[in-house]
Amino acid sequence: MPDVSKMKKPDVKLVLLGDMNVGKTSLLHRYMERKFKDTISTVGGAFFLKQWGPYHISIWDTAGREQFHGLGSMYCRGAAAVILTYDVTNWQSLAELEERFLSLTDTANHDCIYALVGNKADLTDPKAHLCQDSGVLPEDRRTECEEERTEPQVLSTCPTPPASPASLSGLLLHKQVAREDAVALYGRILRYKGLDEKSSLPADKMCFETSAKTGYNVDALFETLFDLVLPSILRKRHEDQASPTVDLEDCREGSGKRVRASCC
């Protein structure tokens, strides 16, 4: 169903970045519509509006295709959080984040938060495959997973997952990206941003492994981020109320404080 509330002005923006096919659109679908469905390669970009308490959060799904790469900076402009997504079965997708996508986030807010998300964990991790700890009811999920499993898979990089959980472990794909690799990249992202590791959000908290297919960790990902951007919303609301024009003095003072806060 198309989002009818698009006309409302969102309070804050979240952006999903990452190579094509890593599952950005699927993650967003899973979270917003509670299901995993066939996606078509995203054209240009799309966004959803999520009501989170009294706030409206816009979540932008971007196109990973090279062709649309140039639009990334525009989508990231003013973003309060960026979700850098890779595919755990594809090392290149992680490398691309650093090579192509990280620089797009230059236009994001100065206090933007970054999450690193390894998707398709169901292909490598039995836990994610059976999906024991996501927000959906276990029963629903089980039948859903089973349905999905019987569908023919048309993924070139991922062979059809096994039909029975018993034989699962033998047929799991090789996990090309270990969690440590993601944690290391997170550290490099902070360095790229000139942020101090100690005063920033810990890698532990900001590196996720998810499965859009089973729902594993998907709610946790989005909800963690929503909670983290709340201060940003409040600040923005406050600013909007205080003055519709930008006060340069104020800005300088604000950023000065921020630097001070982050170095001690």
Binding site: P2, M7, G44, G45, Q67, F68, G70, R77
Partner: protein, 845 residues
């Protein structure tokens, strides 16, 4: 997923422009109100008057009337035309030169003294539709020139143009749009936003302008539509961010315009129409040789190389209804809500509500109840629209008629379900839950009767648990409809309460599964409850024995009615007298109730003789006819009767009952004590004498004197009484009353006490007498003394007894010459123990 959002209507046909000259093409158009200007490649400007022709079928059409055409004299195509209607000028770009032309005569405007009216070397220009400078008699213009990396801002006046600003750009600009201070520019390799006031520049995204023709189109305040790589239509605001998701065009788009909520784009063969609300392609029109697409004050116009067209939007409501007709509910709602800003508020609300209601019924028809409910709720549906789908649910008295035009296509539930009983059932379940939810809310203001009655009927029909809750709570069920319905579904036997009380309508009691329930509207509560209690018992008595249903247990009913004696009486009468149930319990209970009633009436003052007689008759009849009641149980009540007699001061009757009928001597004694409490000694004495007399009367000398007979029992009681309460009797009178034959021994305690008491009394009296005498002497003495000296009384002096000051000169002197208030002295005398004693004993002496 297509919608018919626009219709392509010819405006200026080929023959009006160029006749059959094949090489003449349209280059540009401008429309300003009814005035249409067309620039051609042979350096002509044509001026038309464009009229919308109203047509009976609602299909729009236009008629164009040619006013003038003018050769501009440059032999080059007219590249761009812009009207500045306040100045009555057309801004023309032709052969790299911008100049002004009179809107009416199409004559070139000569340069004013002091300033030129021409700009040379121009590749393209744009007009600022949202200028910061508010002067209505000048137009702000952004100009791009060939071979220079600058944008120039000009002010255009009636007869001159004036350069006001020049901003450098990093690359050669090739397309421009202007809003406020913001220039949106297509450079060779990217789009940027440039603030010409501050010089601040914001990169948007890369775009190869040499490969594909860029588009920069201002669509609203500080928002632009841009052609992006991959055939996207991207939105960007002045801050350089996107607030809408892009639409996906073909790669070859040459022009775009916005007609809310649609984005219209033109490529070589088609006009495509996307919704800005959901980014979907909604309509495609085939259009050959498309050349120009522009919107003029909301009117979208198109030109091929040979003719001009108007893209007429279909009325929004039509579009929405079309969507609804094909059950595309979500799209219809998106379109409706998207149009909010373009429709006056009150009109929008009406429209929105109606669409929501229709959407709700579509979802309802698809049995998607959750969505249906949400739409109904948001659309503030009159619930009766929904109820009226269900045959017979609305009360006959309801004034409801369905809204017109209808909100849905269903005649009724059966039509909707096409005989599928499961569907019918699900719809009913839905209505139950829906009505249950709305009935307490404001949504049903003005139709509570209809809603409650419908719900009651559904509950009854579906054997729903909440039926009792509904009737037990404050509700507005219509009696005339509910009763037959409930009876039909064997939910209860209803007993109508006539309306002896004014102004209270839906009141009735009903019965189900051993419980009483009732309907009421809260204002009638108290009179109703009383009425129901009196007549409610009919529920039990008039209820025919139903087959299959278990018989009501009379004991339960009685326990319940026990709290309401009048109803209980009626019910017992029903059991005992009408149904002739031979149970001792019921008979006794009834007899007791009769008796109580009689006693109660007896105690009333003044007595209602009529009622009393009737009550007595009933009691007597009962006592006569029935042989089942327990006599003993009735006897117990004599005690109460005696008490009542006592209250009426009919002591002899009371004592007679106690002694002769109950033979309860301790009670008789207690009665005397109780009846005389708070009275003086003489009163008590009279009572005790009365009791003694009753005892002695019961045992007249010479009658049967068996040791355990009546007489001796009474005698013993008399003796005990005397011995116990001797002090209360007048011994002399007692001695006179007592039979000769009684032995002195028997009465010794009494006599002892009597003698002692009389001795005591005489001695106390003597002492009191002595004291009084001495007081008298003392007073005489004081009086003699006080006569000789003055007694001072002033307002400041206090009385010794009450310590208040004196306000009057009258005082009393106590012994010793102490002045006190008159009333204080009197009080003291009254309270003095000697005086009291004296008063008491006075008659002894």
């Amino acid at each position: 997923m297509s919608v018919k959002a626009f219709e392509l209507v010819p405006a200026v046909e080929r023959h009006l422009l160029m006749g059959d000259k094949a090489r003449i093409n349209i280059e540009c158009i401008e429309c300003c109100g009814k005035h249409l200007y067309v620039g051609t490649n042979d350096c002509f400007v044509h001026h038309f008057l464009l009229d919308e022709v109203p047509s009976p079928k609602g299909k729009p059409s236009y008629s164009a009337q040619k006013l003038l055409h003018k050769y501009l004299g440059l032999k080059k195509p007219v590249a761009e035309l812009r009207a500045a209607s306040a100045l009555e000028r057309l801004i023309v770009l032709c052969d790299g030169v911008v100049f002004l032309v009179d809107m009416v005569t199409l004559e070139s405007v000569p340069s004013a003294a002091g300033g030129g009216a021409k700009i040379r070397g121009v590749t393209t220009f744009c007009v600022n539709e949202n200028p910061v400078n508010g002067d209505p008699f000048c137009v702000e213009m952004g100009v791009l020139s060939s071979r220079r990396r600058t944008v120039q801002i000009y002010m255009v006046y009636e007869d001159r143009v004036q350069l006001v600003k020049e901003v450098n750009t990093p690359e050669q600009p090739c397309a421009v749009s202007l809003d406020g201070y913001f220039l949106c520019l297509a450079l060779t390799t990217q789009y940027v936003i440039l603030n010409y006031n501050t010089g601040a520049s914001q990169d948007l995204f890369p775009y190869n302008s040499e490969e594909r023709r860029p588009i920069v189109k201002r669509i609203s305040r500080e928002e632009f539509l841009l052609a992006a790589p991959g055939g996207l239509g991207m939105f960007a605001n002045a801050e350089g961010a996107s607030q809408r998701a892009p639409v996906s065009w073909s790669e070859g788009v040459i022009a775009a315009a916005v007609c809310f909520p649609y984005v219209v784009a033109l490529d070589e063969n088609f006009v495509t129409i996307h919704s800005m609300l959901d980014q979907q392609l909604k309509q495609t029109l085939s259009f050959r040789d498309g050349h120009v697409l522009q919107d003029f004050e909301g009117k979208v116009m198109l030109a091929s190389t040979k003719a001009v067209y108007v893209l007429v939007p279909l009325p929004l409501e039509r579009q929405i209804q079309d969507l609804l007709a094909s059950h595309r509910v979500e799209e219809a709602l998106v379109l409706t809500e998207g149009a909010q800003r373009n429709i006056p508020k009150d009109k929008f609300q009406v429209l929105h509500r109606r669409i929501l209601q229709q959407a709700g019924f579509i979802k309802f028809g698809q049995l998607q109840f959750l969505e249906a409910k949400e739409h109904f709720r948001k659309g503030q549906l009159d619930v009766r629209e929904l109820i009226s789908l269900y045959p017979l649910l609305l009360p006959a008295s309801s004034s409801f008629t369905r809204c017109h035009p209808p909100l849905h296509e269903f005649a009724d539930l059966n039509h909707l379900a096409q005989g599928d009983q499961d569907k019918v059932l699900r719809c009913k379940k839905f209505l139950i839950s829906y009505l249950g939810e709305v009935r307490g809310t404001d949504a049903v203001n003005g139709c509570r009767e209809d809603v409650d009655t419908a719900l009651l009927k559904l509950y009854a029909e579906q054997d729903h648990d909440s039926l009792l809750d509904l009737v037990a709570s404050d509700n507005c069920c219509v009696l005339a409809d509910s009763v037959p319905w409930l009876e039909k579904y064997h939910k209860c036997v209803c007993c109508r309460v006539g309306s002896p009380l004014q102004g209270f309508s839906p009141a009735w009691g009903g019965f189900q599964e051993g419980m009483i329930f009732m309907f009421y509207s809260s204002a009638d509560l108290i009179p109703l409850v009383r009425l129901l209690l009196l007549t409610g018992v009919h529920i039990f008595t008039r209820r025919p024995a139903c087959k299959g249903q278990p018989e009501v247990d009379p004991d339960q009913v009685i326990a319940y009615l026990g709290k309401h004696s009048q109803a209980l009486l009626l019910y017992l009468e029903h059991l005992v007298l009408e149904r002739k149930i031979q149970k001792e319990r019921f008979h006794t209970h009834l007899a007791v109730l009769y008796l109580e009633k009689v006693v109660l009436l007896l105690a009333e003052s003044p007595r209602d003789e009529g009622r009393l007689t009737r009550a007595r008759e009933k009691l007597q009849a009962m006592l006569r006819e029935s042989s089942l009641y327990r006599v003993k149980f009735l006897e117990n009540l004599l005690l109460e009767r005696a008490t009542l007699h006592g209250k009426l001061e009919e002591h002899d009757e009371a004592l007679r009952i106690l002694v002769h009928e109950l033979r309860d001597f301790p009670s008789a004694e207690a009665f005397c004590v109780w009846a005389s409490s708070g009275r003086d000694a003489a009163y008590q004495r009279r009572l005790f004498h009365l009791l003694l007399a009753v005892y002695l009367d019961g045992a007249p000398p010479g009658e049967a004197r068996a040791p355990h007979g009546d007489g001796s029992e009474m005698e013993m009681a008399a003796v005990d009484l005397l011995n116990r309460h001797g002090e209360a009797f007048d011994a002399v009178r007692v001695l006179r009353m007592l039979p000769e034959s009684w032995s002195l021994q028997l009465l010794r305690p009494f006599l002892n006490r009597a003698v002692r008491a009389s001795m005591h009394a005489s001695r106390t009296a003597k002492i009191a007498l002595g004291l009084a005498r001495s007081e008298n002497v003392q007073l005489l003495h004081d009086r003699l003394k006080e006569r000789r000296k003055p007694i001072f009384v002033s307002e400041k002096k206090g009385c010794h007894l009450c310590h208040n000051t004196f306000s009057e000169p009258d005082v009393v002197c106590l012994p010793g010459g102490v002045p006190v208030h008159v009333h204080c002295a009197a009080q003291r005398v009254r309270d003095s123990p000697t005086k009291r004693q004296l008063a008491n004993s006075s008659n002894h002496t």
